[in-house]
């Protein structure tokens, strides 16, 4: 499982290494958005791959929206 997580961490690190010099010169909001998206993505990635009972949005939404489907 740690190996799988490493895929994400390495990808995020590559993005950070490539972009951090440019992002530093942009307004702060860019830095915050980048970090929030990278960390948020890692949390979702870990949750969807490592927790046994994952709550899948499509399954959950499907249950909620089924009564609205006309057939």
């Amino acid at each position: 499982m740690i190996k799988l997580l490493l895929i994400y961490i390495v990808s995020a690190l590559i993005i950070w290494l490539i972009d951090h010099k440019v992002i530093r010169n942009l307004p702060k909001v860019n830095r915050w958005f980048t970090y929030i998206l990278l960390v948020g993505g890692m949390v979702i990635f870990t949750y969807s791959l490592q927790v046994k009972h994952v709550m899948y949005p499509s399954v959950w939404l499907g249950r909620w929206l089924s009564p609205l489907v006309p057939y």
Binding site: L4, I7, Y8, S11, A12, I15, I18, D19, V22, I23, L26, P27, V29, N30, F33, T34, L37, L38, G40, G41, M42, I44, F45, Y47, S48, L49, V54, Y56, P57, S58, V59, L61, G62, L65, S66, L68, V69, P70, Y71
Partner: protein
């Protein structure tokens, strides 16, 4: 940005609609509408065109601006909320498309390669295309858009002697309930065409370009579904996961090219990557309009990686991805019908500006 030509707009619309629609819904449509599956596309296409007309009219009220720009400028709060909703919509399309392509590649092309690596490769390519901005996206569209259209137009010529027109029988009996159900499934995919007035300013974009896009897209999708029915038959294509791919696999160009599918997939795959990149570009562009200090270009990579994670979280498996098409239309109709009507009703220049 360079001057945008009508040809680029039309091709972008076609590319954004056809490439994943031709993979993900034909089997479900044939299952419901049988030999008249093409009518489902036409039904959905008519509704989308009507909504596109309303959005285009709204866009014309603000000359030189696209809808993302004019909504955020005219209504600082509600406008931003609507743009954020559309960003969410296109983000969900982005996530869905990444997952569709990952599953397709895993099932058909690379069954041994881990699904996470396939998805990562797709996401990385998409990020690189989207980072190039509108210029790159439009450039690749001009290259791969016509190629895909030409390939689909050539296919009936190649398969002509193998087509069994008897499989279209009974031709004059139309199961309208099934056709409507097929239309329900396809409207969310064809509705992606509504993106045009959001990213192209009213100076460049005219309704007729959207109309041409839709007509070409409908033509391509109709050819493919008719060929699938006449080559594979309704029972077989209705039970297959990817009938369009099977259709291409059945084709042989005389004796020297019996794997025609390899050529078509080699041409179609970059077009699909472009399709996904368009979604990512739209999300970045929308975000830039909501928060002007955000750099759309620099958000492409983090957003792409975030979408990569979500692609595994949103859908349990590839069957769920297909099944969710039914409920996805409920969400999509909000963005394809409700919000365009709302925009058409409220989105007008302020009185002070008119005076």
């Amino acid at each position: 940005m360079q001057k945008i030509t009508p040809r680029q707009i039309v091709l972008l619309g076609v590319t954004y609609v056809i490439n994943l629609t031709m993979v993900n819904i034909p089997s479900q449509i044939v299952n419901r509408a049988s030999q008249h599956g093409y009518l489902s596309y036409l039904l959905a296409g008519a509704l989308v065109l009507l909504m596109l007309f309303f959005l285009t009219r709204s866009s014309y009220r603000f000359p030189g601006k696209d809808l993302f720009q004019s909504l955020t400028a005219r209504f600082p709060f509600i406008g931003r909320a609507i743009v954020l909703l559309y960003i969410l919509f296109f983000f969900m399309i982005l996530v869905r498309d990444i997952r569709i392509m990952t599953d397709f590649t895993n099932v058909i092309l690379l069954p041994v390669t881990p699904i996470l690596m396939i998805s990562l490769c797709i996401s990385a390519t998409v990020i690189y295309i989207a980072r190039g901005g509108a210029r790159t996206v439009l450039g690749i569209t001009e290259l791969y858009g016509p190629i895909m259209i030409i390939v689909v137009l050539i296919m009936p010529v190649i398969a002509l002697r193998d087509l069994d027109f008897n499989l279209m029988k009974p031709f004059f009996y139309v199961n309208w309930k099934g056709v409507t159900e097929g239309g329900w499934l396809s409207v969310s995919y064809l509705g992606q065409l509504l993106v045009l007035p959001f990213i192209f300013s009213s100076k460049d974009y005219k309704f007729k370009y959207g109309l041409y896009s839709m007509l070409i897209a409908l033509g391509v999708l109709t050819i493919l579904i008719l060929m699938a029915i006449m080559l594979l038959g309704v029972p077989v294509s209705g039970r297959m996961m990817y009938p369009s791919y099977e259709l291409v696999r059945q084709m042989r160009v005389t004796d020297f090219l019996d794997r025609f599918d390899l050529i078509v997939v080699a041409l179609w795959y970059p077009a699909v990557l472009l399709n996904i990149a368009i979604s990512l570009y739209i999300v970045c562009y929308g975000l830039k309009n909501v928060i002007p200090t955000v750099s759309g270009k620099m958000m492409a990579a983090p957003l792409g990686l975030f979408a990569y994670s979500c692609a595994f979280w949103f859908y349990q498996n590839s069957i769920e991805l297909f099944e969710f098409n039914r409920q996805w239309t409920v969400i999509a109709l909000f963005f394809i019908v409700v919000l365009p009507l709302l925009i058409f009703a409220i989105h007008r220049p302020s009185k002070a500006r008119i005076e």
